[in-house]
């Protein structure tokens, strides 16, 4: 590939989706088996519960080049561990608000509740989120130059 061609290369965002094992990951499975599509930019990381997501994970994802981070868990009240997502909800609300306060685009972070039966919701959410991130462009504010290729 010549240099010229390379610069013309279309921007492909990287989206990290932390999906809880019991609902959203199963929702992604359902989306797959129902032949619903979601963008290939979305990389799923399976976590036991949405409350497993440590704020450091979110930052690390951005550090390693993510342009958007989405956390998906069971609907409030349906968490496999009863209350994990309630705690996650408070933590992520505060974390996202802090990132916004530091001037990092608030559209880059998102939390969604997606059950195992909601393959359609999984697919539409991911498509929507990918579109938003695509419009926002590259994450420049919270990246680590040392991690760039």
């Amino acid at each position: 590939m010549s240099l010229n061609e390379e610069t013309k290369k279309e921007y492909k965002p990287l989206i990290v989706a932390f999906c809880c094992n019991w609902c959203s990951y199963a929702g992604a499975d359902l989306a797959g088996s129902s032949r619903l599509t979601y963008p290939t930019d979305v990389k799923i990381i399976r976590v036991p519960c949405s409350c497993r997501v440590n704020p450091l994970f979110v930052l690390r994802a951005f550090q390693r080049g993510a342009d958007g981070v989405i956390i998906a868990g069971c609907h409030p009240g349906d968490c496999h561990y009863t209350s994990g997502n309630y705690f996650a909800r408070r933590r992520m609300t505060l974390l996202f608000s802090m990132l916004d306060y530091l001037g990092i685009e608030r559209e880059r972070t998102r939390v969604e509740w997606i059950s195992a039966a909601e393959g359609v919701k999984f697919s539409t959410t991911m498509n929507e989120f990918a579109k938003t991130i695509h419009e926002l462009g590259e994450n420049k504010k919270l990246r680590d130059l040392r991690c760039e290729e």
Binding site: P55, L56, L59, F62, Q63, P76, G77, S83, Y86, F87, R89, R90, R91, M92, T93, L94, L95, F96, S97, M98, L99, D100, Y101, L102, G103, I104, E105, R106, E107, T109, R110, V111, K141, L142, R143, D144, L145, R146
Partner: protein, 323 residues
């Protein structure tokens, strides 16, 4: 004041209420007082004045695990941190005798210097005046003009916990400023302006860890930032990201537990306004989950260890709009 405290403390040591005192002594310079433990015969070195800023509650984690009982001199704001540490089971309450000391607001040596006063040798507090001895002669300043920033947003003169309180008879110090003023101002900026503001501040960080070491809420036995496997120490200042990460995570780890004691900003050698990060969390917690002051009530549940079924969704951050 120092004499009043010494008298009280000697009495308590003599009647064997406790066997030692945690207080302040002069540091290398008269204005950088440091925490110290005194035996009965060492009380001469004990001082208490406008420069007795260090919050002593954190030192009780170690001190209260030793044998015998220790007297802790706590200013009103220090008692919030003490309570918070009790809630977190870090202090052995039975081994501490808390003596509440009155506070008139701490002094800021930098503000005194900014008044153009040079060659300062000693400072005496006389009522509302400071008598400053310099190599160029004696100067005076109204005390109120050089109060440490954090004390301008004082939480009040009440001790949240004390076995005994020393009364000074002097009028109590009162808050003069709204502690969320600057946070609101930042919130009203555009996101690019905020980003520029924080890059400007956080890029000054030399990662000396003073803010973490002084913080009574940062009392983990093993801090994430000390984990050799993560290699964060070695990378500490290599990239913007590390600076952001350190401060976001540190602020997050104390969210809901930070009593807003202001020690972090006070000790930062680079003058980074770290309290603006903590106060953002406090402000958000207050608006989303109801007003909460860490350390005010040891029966209360921390906002991040609790939840309501109808809490706001994280999308509130977007819905709130703003720039």
């Amino acid at each position: 004041m120092t004499e009043l405290i010494k008298a009280k403390v000697s009495e308590l040591l003599a009647n064997q209420t406790a066997d030692r005192v945690l207080g302040w002594k002069k540091g290398e310079f008269f204005y950088d007082e440091t925490p110290a433990v005194f035996q009965a015969e060492e009380l001469d070195d004990l001082v208490y004045d406008g420069f007795s800023a260090p919050n002593l509650s954190k030192y009780l984690i170690k001190e209260s695990k030793k044998e015998g009982k220790v007297i802790a001199l706590l200013k009103p704001c220090d008692t919030y941190s003490f309570n918070q540490l009790i809630m977190e089971h870090r202090i052995n309450r039975d081994n501490v005798y808390v003596v509440g000391v009155p506070c008139r607001g701490n002094l800021d040596i930098n503000k005194i210097r900014e008044k153009g006063i040079k060659g300062i040798q000693s400072i005496k507090e006389q009522g509302d005046e400071l008598i400053i001895e310099t190599i160029y002669g004696t100067k005076t300043l109204p005390r109120e003009e050089v109060i440490l920033d954090r004390c301008l947003c004082c939480k009040g003169s009440q001790h949240m916990v004390a076995d005994e309180v020393i009364e000074s008879g002097e009028p109590a110090w009162e808050a003069k400023a709204d502690r969320f003023e600057m946070v609101t101002k930042l919130e009203n900026m555009t996101s690019d302006e905020r980003f520029a503001f924080w890059r400007g501040e956080l890029s000054k960080c030399i990662r000396c860890n003073a803010c973490r070491n002084v913080c009574p809420a940062c009392s983990c036995l093993q801090c994430v930032f000390d984990d050799p496997a993560s290699k964060v120490q070695a990378k500490s200042n290599a990239d913007d990201f590390e600076e952001n990460m350190f401060h976001i995570i540190r602020a997050f780890h104390v969210a809901g537990r930070c009593t807003d004691c202001g020690e972090c900003s006070r000790v930062c050698p680079q003058g980074i306004p770290l309290h603006l990060l903590n106060r953002k969390f406090i402000k958000d917690i207050d608006t989303f989950y109801g007003e909460y002051q860490a350390g005010a009530d040891i029966e209360a549940k921390g906002p991040l260890t609790e939840f309501n079924k109808d809490d706001v969704e994280p999308s509130i951050v977007k819905e709130r709009g703003g720039k």
